[in-house]
Amino acid sequence: MSKLTIGFIINGQKKTIETTTSTRLLDLIRDDLHLTGTKEGCGKGECGACTVIMNGELVASCLILATQSDGAVITTIEGIGDNECLDPVQEAFIETGAVQCGFCTPGMILAAKKMLEENPHPDEEEIKRGISGNLCRCTGYQKIIDAIKLAANRLSSKNGGRSEKDD
């Protein structure tokens, strides 16, 4: 294990921080930056609770070394929406009852957001595939799927787009 200094942009803020070669990006985000909205559910890339967006890609931060994030641009749940103005995906999660214990929620919201960016009009199967890397033990996924549909509808009507696909 060696110590070294890395730099990256997280939620729009530049950071320079000392880390070690045995630190995971997840540890850096939680233990050093205390951005605890990013969760550890399994540590092996199976549950998706540690999901963040790095360089525009949805990734599991438990499977990335902190050093690998050197020079990266990272968004965590704390970088989405704020108290005054929640992201439409966050709003939809509240309204449809997609939140139970809430532990999967941050990762799930990031996965949903990323999917809607790439595919603004997903059908039900595409939604299921888009969040297939995020396990939820409480909801049975149905209300989460409903939330993503609702958000997709709102985002597309806001953007003057077409309405939701039938599934």
Binding site: G37, K39, I77, E78, G81, I94, G97, R137
Partner: protein, 423 residues
């Protein structure tokens, strides 16, 4: 009267914090100057601990302290119903499953604590491992706890079972088996503890399905007055029965007392699965009789529940399963016996349904088999046997109100487009 808020889809009061990632779960709590714990666990599922050598581990830079059973002679066993679970297994004592704790490592970082755990050397004298409850029940099986491997036996008897089977035109008899399940709450066991030397208070931030019960168990184990143990509930992160038992609590308290610094312990998923409670595997032997018109006359059930190495809520789980053996159907003659059995498997406790989930697999399979044998539509067969006001449960409890079971059969069949012609 119309209600304004009851019966409405009011948004969850805690949802906004959760969607923003602001909700603080046990693992999200940090203090300055905080230490991290890791637990050295059993090296064999059934063995006497002969020697534990922490000398190499203690020398690792960054290790603050390692607690073994020798350091805490005053600490007592814990457990939800029976206090049969040791806080740490001592020399000469037995480890009874792979989750038993042998030592608490306290270090400046998680990484150092993990390294140190691997440097602890353990010598054991191996005993026969009992993984099968049927083996555990045999006369010559070695005892896992001194009072015998059958921890509890419960009985059920209503009406006259012989008469019931005599009245039956059709009898079906089967054995059903279920397996160990993990509740898999996404937040694993985790928490932070602080000891305030001046006031003698221990403060724990640990999720619990029952705060005050957990407080009482921690207090009796440590020999502290209850009011000196304060437990504060973080946002929980799922439970499904898994957070009824003690997990990190007592270890955190001991480490906080020993170091006078804030301490944190978070299980790995692997540790959570091996060390913390499971759904009981059941062996269910069941015999059911019905008349050719399709009315139940007799129901007999034998249940063997593998509760693993410690009792947890096992005795309650296994017999609650048996108490539900007939499902929501009128049966005048019922007989049952339920055994809660120790093994060297991970201990089993509460999980959604508390024994009745396993039992429903058996009784609803039996109902289906009977319906097919009798040539009656399965929904109709259930409907004609289902409870009414005035029905009696296997416990002989007379239902006086709120018995909507028939309505549920009719409605479910209706929305599913069930073509059976329910009467």
């Amino acid at each position: 009267m119309t209600e304004r808020y009851v019966g409405r889809n009011v948004y969850k009061v805690d949802a906004q914090d959760k969607v923003m990632g602001k909700a603080k779960y046990p693992d999200d709590i940090y203090f300055d100057n905080m230490l991290y714990l890791k637990i050295k666990r059993a090296t064999h599922p059934h063995a006497h601990l002969r020697r534990i050598d922490i000398s190499k581990a203690v020398k690792l830079p960054g290790v603050v302290k390692i607690i073994t059973a020798d350091d805490i002679p005053q600490v007592k066993n814990f457990g939800l119903i029976i206090k049969d679970q040791p806080v740490l297994v001592g020399i000469g004592q037995k480890m009874r499953y792979m989750g038993d704790a042998l030592a608490i490592v306290i270090a400046e970082t998680k990484e150092i604590a993990s390294k140190a755990v691997r440097l602890i050397e353990v010598e054991v004298e191996e005993l026969e491992v009992i993984s099968d409850p049927l083996r555990a029940m045999e006369k010559d099986a070695p005892l896992i706890h001194k009072d015998g491997n059958i921890l509890a036996t419960h009985y059920l008897e209503k009406g006259d079972i012989k008469k019931g089977f005599a009245e039956a035109n059709v009898i079906v008899e089967n054995e059903y088996r279920t397996t160990f399940l993990d509740q898999v709450p996404l937040q694993v066991e985790a928490g932070v503890g602080i000891y305030d030397e001046e006031s003698g208070f221990i403060k724990l931030w640990v999720a619990s399905q029952w705060l005050h019960d957990t407080q009482a168990d921690v207090a009796q184990s440590l020999g502290f007055p209850k009011e000196k143990i304060r437990i504060i509930q973080p946002v929980i992160g799922g439970a499904f029965g898994k957070k009824e038992d003690i997990s990190v609590h007592i270890h955190l308290a001991l480490a906080a007392i020993a170091t006078k610094r804030p301490v944190k312990l978070t299980y790995t998923r692997e540790e959570s699965m091996i060390a913390q409670s499971k759904r009981h595997p059941f062996i269910i032997r069941v015999k059911t009789g019905a008349t050719k018109e399709g009315y139940l006359t007799a129901w007999q059930a034998e249940v063997i529940g593998d509760t693993g190495a410690y009792a947890s809520s096992g005795p309650a789980v296994v017999h609650k399963g048996m108490y539900h053996c007939t499902g929501p159907y009128n049966v005048d003659n019922v007989k049952g016996v339920a055994y809660t059995v120790y093994t060297n498997n991970t201990y089993a406790g509460a999980m959604r349904g508390f024994g009745t989930t396993q039992m429903a697999f058996a009784y609803e399979s039996q109902m289906d088999i009977l319906a097919h044998k009798l040539g009656i539509d399965p929904a109709q067969f259930r409907l004609q046997n289902a409870y009414n006001i005035g029905s009696s449960t296997p416990n002989g409890q007379i239902l006086t109100h709120s018995v909507g079971v028939k309505e549920t059969i009719k409605k479910a069949a209706e929305i599913a487009g069930w073509k059976g012609g329910l009467r």
